[in-house]
Structure formats: structure tokens, C-alpha cells
């Protein structure tokens, strides 16, 4: 089986293949279709996956939301049904006691209020925040900056406004550096932001005015209360590890019964995200299964056709043997032919699959078609490499039995005149 790369051998094989076009075509079809289906299915699966993941955008996924709710169990002299608000001071205690905790971004909303700039005005949500929300929600700062530490520490009267607010209040004017008024308090605009993706559910971000939480407390008398906070886990830690500790610390702090399922509410986004990941893992596995199945059917087809070919070529093989072909040279001939046909047809299938997936992706993007749950179908290069390896092995397997059969052709029988 030596000399796989001998030029002569390839010429011999090309000659045989090219002069038996129909036979070669039929042999190639099964593998072509198999690889095409594999690439196409996985590409479409990727499109589905991208479509769903796109909704998450660039936002942090290793986070959980924490809020408070009414208790349901009496504890330490307190009655059930008590409302326990979260406070700014809780943040420091959490940071100290929960080592998995990386960042906390609290938010307090005091509802919609008229926001005025000159003669322009509109009703917008007023939010009190610290500095880290853009990192977690993946906001784009379109001009200026977000709330910074000095703003918080000094309780400065500054604000960051959503794009819609800027549009309505400032129009063509430069917003950053200008002033606006909320409930009689003057704020200086230091930045403009927008959500990473403009969707129905991110509209509220566009229509908000964000001020430092400390400023909110002083200017509007909200105390140190917060509505909810977003907690991000440190890299390497799972939110699921962090979640029970946060609940425990907060329950302890707020004198809530440890067994109370209410009191402290939480939503683990990471878990949600992992469930979706798990779902796609399953879908991908299924698609691989179907694709490989189709491919295997193709390979069995090739093997079958090669067997028939060997039957049909019995006389040729007999002649070659009479002229001095060794069994190895016959095996090598059939195997190389098989690998060659599977590889070429497989590559063509892969090319067509990639072309169709790429074309589809191009059409969706160039025509600005936004479909629900489908975006940018892709062919993973790993799939290409895997498929190539599968192809070569497949070609060898498909050719093996026919090749052995061919090497056993008895020239006396093969050359007997009918």
C-alpha cells in the first residue's frame, strides 16, 4: 500500500474514474448528500442558536437579580406579611460576606416624572444607580460617560439620559454639559446611553434618566432604599453557588425566617442561560445524529456500489492480475478510488452546504430581514475539519470490504470465456 502519493497511481485512478463517469457519479451521490445534510443541518442549527443568544446580547450572563418581597412566615417576633426593603448598606455587607460576589449594581426607580429642558419636556423614569450597571446590561455610552464613583460619593446632581430622552429634550443640541430639571431639581447631563440592542423590552432604558443613588436619596427623600440589585459572580464561580449565600446573608440581616420561601426574591439568569445552552447542546447532538446518520447511509451506499463495481470489474481485475498486479496493488487501487470519490464528493457537499448557509446568511443581512429566533446561520470550521477526517475514514471503510474482495479475485475464474 506504499506510495499513496505516486503521480502514476493517481493518473491510473483518474483515467479509470473519468472514463466511468456514471458509475463514479452514482457512487459520489450518497456521500455528497450526506455531507451536505450534515453541514446544512448544523449551519441551520447554529442560526437558531445565534438567534436565541442574540437576545442576550453582550450582557453579562453570570448574574442574578435580587429583590425583596413580603414574608410568609413569622420570625423573631415579626409577623408574617412584612415588607422588608433592601438598602444601600446591604451591599457592603454582601460584598464582605459572599466571596463569590464580584459586582453589585443596585437600582431604585421612583417612577415617571416630568423632565424639563428649556421649553422641551417629557415624562421619563427616574433611576438611581451606582456605577456598574452598563457593564452588566451591556449599555453603549453614546456620548459623555456614565455615573462615576465621585458622582456617588459626593452625591452630585448629574444625570445620564437614554437616547430617546436626549432626542426629545435636546434634538440637535449637544446634551452633554447641558442641564435639565426633575421635580424642581437641576441636573447636569454627563452622558447619553442606549441599550446594547434596541428591542421592545429595552425601550424603558431608552426612556430613563439615571442619577446617582446617593443624589436620589438626598434630593427626593427615598432614603437609602433600593428596588433591586444585580449581582455578578466572580469569574470561575457559578451563580448557583453564590445565590444561597446571598439569600442567607440577607435573610439574616432582615430577620426573615431561614425557611421562608418569600422575603428575598431572586432570579438566576445564568441558570436560565445554561438551560438554553443545554437545550442547544441537545439540539446540536440531535442534528449531528441525523447528519451522521445520513452520512453513514451514504457511506454504506458507496460501499455497496463499490462492491457491485468490483463484481463488474472482476474481469478487469483478472486481467490486471494476469499482467502482474499484486494483491496489494489491487487493494490500493480500490481503496484510493474509494477515498478519492468520497473525499471529492464530500468536499462538494460541504462546499454546497457552506454556500447555501452563507448565501442565506447574506440574504438575511443584506435585506435586513430580522426573524424571530433565527440569525446568522454559520458553518463552524471545526465541523469542516471533522467532516474531512470523517470523509477520509469513511472512504477507507467504504472501500475496505470491496478492496479485499477484489484482491481475492481468481484470475482463472475471472478470465474464463463465457
Amino acid at each position: 500500500m506504499s506510495g499513496l502519493f505516486e503521480r502514476d497511481k493517481w493518473q491510473e485512478i483518474f483515467a479509470t474514474i473519468s472514463k466511468n463517469k456514471l458509475r463514479t457519479f452514482l457512487t459520489a451521490l450518497g456521500v455528497f448528500w450526506g455531507i451536505f445534510m450534515l453541514v446544512f443541518l448544523l449551519g441551520m442549527g447554529k442560526g437558531l442558536e445565534n438567534g436565541v443568544y442574540k437576545d442576550f446580547g453582550a450582557r453579562a450572563k453570570n448574574i442574578m437579580y435580587v429583590w425583596s418581597s413580603r414574608t410568609t412566615l413569622p420570625y423573631k417576633g415579626y409577623k408574617a406579611g412584612r415588607m422588608v426593603p433592601l438598602e444601600l448598606a446591604d451591599l457592603e455587607i454582601l460584598k464582605e460576606k459572599v466571596i463569590e460576589l464580584d459586582k453589585i449594581a443596585p437600582r431604585n426607580e421612583i417612577g415617571e416624572h416630568p423632565v424639563v429642558h428649556g421649553i422641551a419636556s417629557g415624562d421619563y423614569t427616574i433611576r438611581g444607580e451606582l456605577t456598574d450597571m452598563p457593564l452588566i446590561e451591556a449599555f453603549n455610552i453614546t456620548s459623555g460617560r456614565y455615573i462615576n464613583h465621585s458622582d456617588v460619593a459626593d452625591a452630585r446632581k448629574v444625570c445620564v439620559i437614554g437616547e430617546t430622552v436626549r432626542d426629545v429634550l435636546f434634538g440637535e443640541e449637544t446634551a452633554v454639559g447641558s442641564h435639565l430639571t426633575v421635580r424642581g431639581v437641576d441636573f447636569k447631563v454627563v452622558g447619553v446611553y442606549e441599550p446594547g440592542q434596541i428591542k421592545e423590552w429595552t425601550r424603558e432604558d431608552m426612556e430613563s434618566v439615571v442619577i446617582p443613588l446617593t443624589t436620589m436619596s438626598r434630593a427626593f427623600g427615598t432614603g437609602e432604599y433600593i428596588d433591586y440589585m444585580v449581582c455578578a459572580a466572580k469569574p470561575g464561580y457559578a451563580v448557583a453557588q453564590m445565590e444561597p449565600k446571598i439569600r442567607e446573608v440577607l435573610k439574616n440581616l432582615k430577620s426573615i425566617h431561614p425557611d421562608d420561601s418569600s422575603g428575598i426574591g431572586g432570579f438566576n439568569l445564568e441558570e436560565e442561560f445554561q438551560q438554553i445552552q443545554g437545550l442547544f447542546f441537545g439540539i446540536k447532538g440531535f442534528l449531528w445524529f441525523v447528519g451522521i446518520g445520513t452520512l453513514v447511509a451514504g457511506i454504506i451506499g458507496v460501499s455497496n456500489i463499490m462492491l457491485i463495481i468490483v463484481k463488474e470489474r472482476t474481469k478487469e481485475i483478472g486481467i490486471r492480475k494476469a499482467l502482474g498486479a499484486t494483491p496489494n496493488s489491487i487493494i490500493s487501487m480500490i481503496l484510493t478510488e474509494s477515498v478519492f470519490i468520497t473525499a471529492i464528493s464530500g468536499f462538494l457537499g460541504m462546499a454546497l452546504g457552506t454556500f447555501i448557509i452563507g448565501g442565506l446568511s447574506y440574504l438575511l443581512i443584506s435585506n435586513n430581514i430580522e426573524t424571530e429566533n433565527f440569525y446568522n446561520p454559520q458553518v463552524n470550521p471545526i465541523v469542516g475539519i471533522t467532516a474531512t477526517i470523517i470523509l477520509v475514514i469513511a472512504g477507507l471503510l467504504a472501500g475496505l470490504i470491496p478492496a479485499l474482495q477484489a484482491s481475492k479475485v481468481n484470475p482463472v475464474v475471472a478470465l474464463k470465456d463465457e
Binding site: 503521480r7 502514476d8 493518473q11 491510473e12 483515467a15 479509470t16 472514463k19 466511468n20 474481469k315 478487469e316 483478472g318 486481467i319 490486471r320 492480475k321 494476469a322 499482467l323 502482474g324 498486479a325 499484486t326 494483491p327 496489494n328 496493488s329 484470475p411 482463472v412 478470465l415 470465456d417
Partner: protein, 221 residues
């Protein structure tokens, strides 16, 4: 050149054992022009297959030159001997239909790993020897039976063998063409190549120098 000592060969067909060759002793000298005659079932094809190392025998000894050809020979060695020392010519020509005359003639050299260009040149040379240089690019199905057999003879000769084994080479040809083909064999033999022709036609056998008659697996003379 060829020495057969007490060659025996049987085929088992179900419960029956068919004794085809019954102790043949044959000597063929180098450069001989021999025909093997016999009716069908006489064992002449089996003998030819054994001579061509396409088949093995049960008993006896077969010497090709000073090489003992027996079962200890691997398939690879057998292929080597066939390739180097023996040229085959068949009744039905056995050319590959998807190859041109020239490519057919060149095929034995492929298995000797002769470079492609040299193969092509030598094939053309051998086709010229049988008067078919102009037909080099034609496929077998574009040629007459006589032409195909001449191509087959070129192919048998190209590896410069010591022995040519022809199995009913004129069986599929009319008498005029048969004699033309025999002329070629005569020329081949004239170059000193031992030529063995299996036939059942007396007028063909008459053209050779030595006739071995087989009947029921034994030499008749």
C-alpha cells in the same frame, strides 16, 4: 526452459473429484514454438493456467527456467513472475475497454513501475511492430477482432517475457486473420521467445514446430 515433472491436478466438485491432469511430463526448450492440442475437457486450459502461474497444481514439479514454481510462492512473487517472464494472449483478447490501444499495451509496464512517458513510448513501439501504430489512440471497441488480438500480443510482448502463453488466440478470428496472427507469433518466436499456443484447430497447430496432444489429462503421442 519449461520442465514439468509428473504434474497432477484435480478439482473437487461437490462430492466428485475431477482428476484433470494425470501425471504430465513435458519439456519445452528455450525458443520452442509449441502448440498444445486437445478437445474440450482434455485439460489443456488447466495446463496453460498452471504454466502461467494463474493456478497451482497438486503434485509434481514445475520449473520455469531455474525457478521452481510451487505453492510456496507468495501471490506477490507469482505476480512478479507473471509480470516479468510471461506474456498472456487470450481467445477473447481481454483488453480493457476504457483504455486506448496504447494504454492497454503499456499496462504491464505500469506494474513494473516504468515511468509514464517511457511506457507510452515503448507501447507505441510495440504497436508499430504489429502494424498498429496508427491505431494507438483507438479504443478496443473501435477495432476489429484481428486488430484487438494484435494489440493483445503487443501487450504480452512489451515486458520482454521469456514465454508467451496463448489460449486459443485464433478462436474468435476468421481463418485469414488467424493466419495473420500466427504470422506474428512466428515472428515473435523468431526473436527467441518460447511460444506456447493452445488450440483445437489442426491447421493452426501445423504452423508450430512441436505439437503436444492432450487427451483426458494425459499426453497422447
Amino acid at each position: 526452459m519449461i520442465r514439468l515433472k509428473n504434474i497432477n491436478k484435480s478439482y473437487t466438485m461437490g462430492a466428485n473429484k475431477l482428476h484433470v491432469l494425470k501425471g504430465l511430463d513435458i519439456n519445452i526448450d528455450e525458443g520452442a514454438f509449441v502448440s498444445i492440442m486437445g478437445s474440450s475437457g482434455s485439460g489443456k486450459s488447466t495446463l496453460l493456467n498452471i504454466l502461467g502461474i494463474l493456478d497451482d497444481y497438486d503434485e509434481g514439479e514445475y520449473w520455469l527456467g531455474d525457478q521452481l514454481i510451487d505453492k510456496s510462492l507468495s501471490e506477490k512473487q507469482a505476480a512478479f513472475f507473471r509480470n516479468q517472464h510471461i506474456g498472456f494472449v487470450f481467445q477473447s483478447f481481454n483488453l480493457l475497454n476504457f483504455k486506448t490501444a496504447q494504454e492497454n499495451v503499456a499496462l504491464p509496464l505500469y506494474y513494473q513501475k516504468v515511468p509514464r512517458k517511457e511506457r507510452a513510448a515503448r507501447a507505441l513501439e510495440y504497436l508499430d511492430m504489429v502494424g498498429l501504430a496508427d491505431w494507438a489512440g483507438h479504443y478496443p471497441n473501435q477495432m476489429s477482432g484481428g486488430q484487438q488480438q494484435r494489440v493483445a500480443i503487443s501487450r504480452a510482448l512489451i515486458s520482454n517475457p521469456q514465454v508467451i502463453l496463448a489460449d486459443e488466440p485464433t478462436g474468435a478470428l476468421d481463418s485469414k486473420t488467424s493466419h495473420e496472427v500466427m504470422e506474428i507469433f512466428k515472428k515473435v518466436n523468431g526473436q527467441g521467445i518460447t511460444t506456447i499456443i493452445v488450440t483445437h484447430e489442426d491447421d493452426i497447430a501445423e504452423l508450430t514446430n512441436q505439437v503436444i496432444r492432450l487427451k483426458d489429462g494425459q499426453i497422447e503421442n
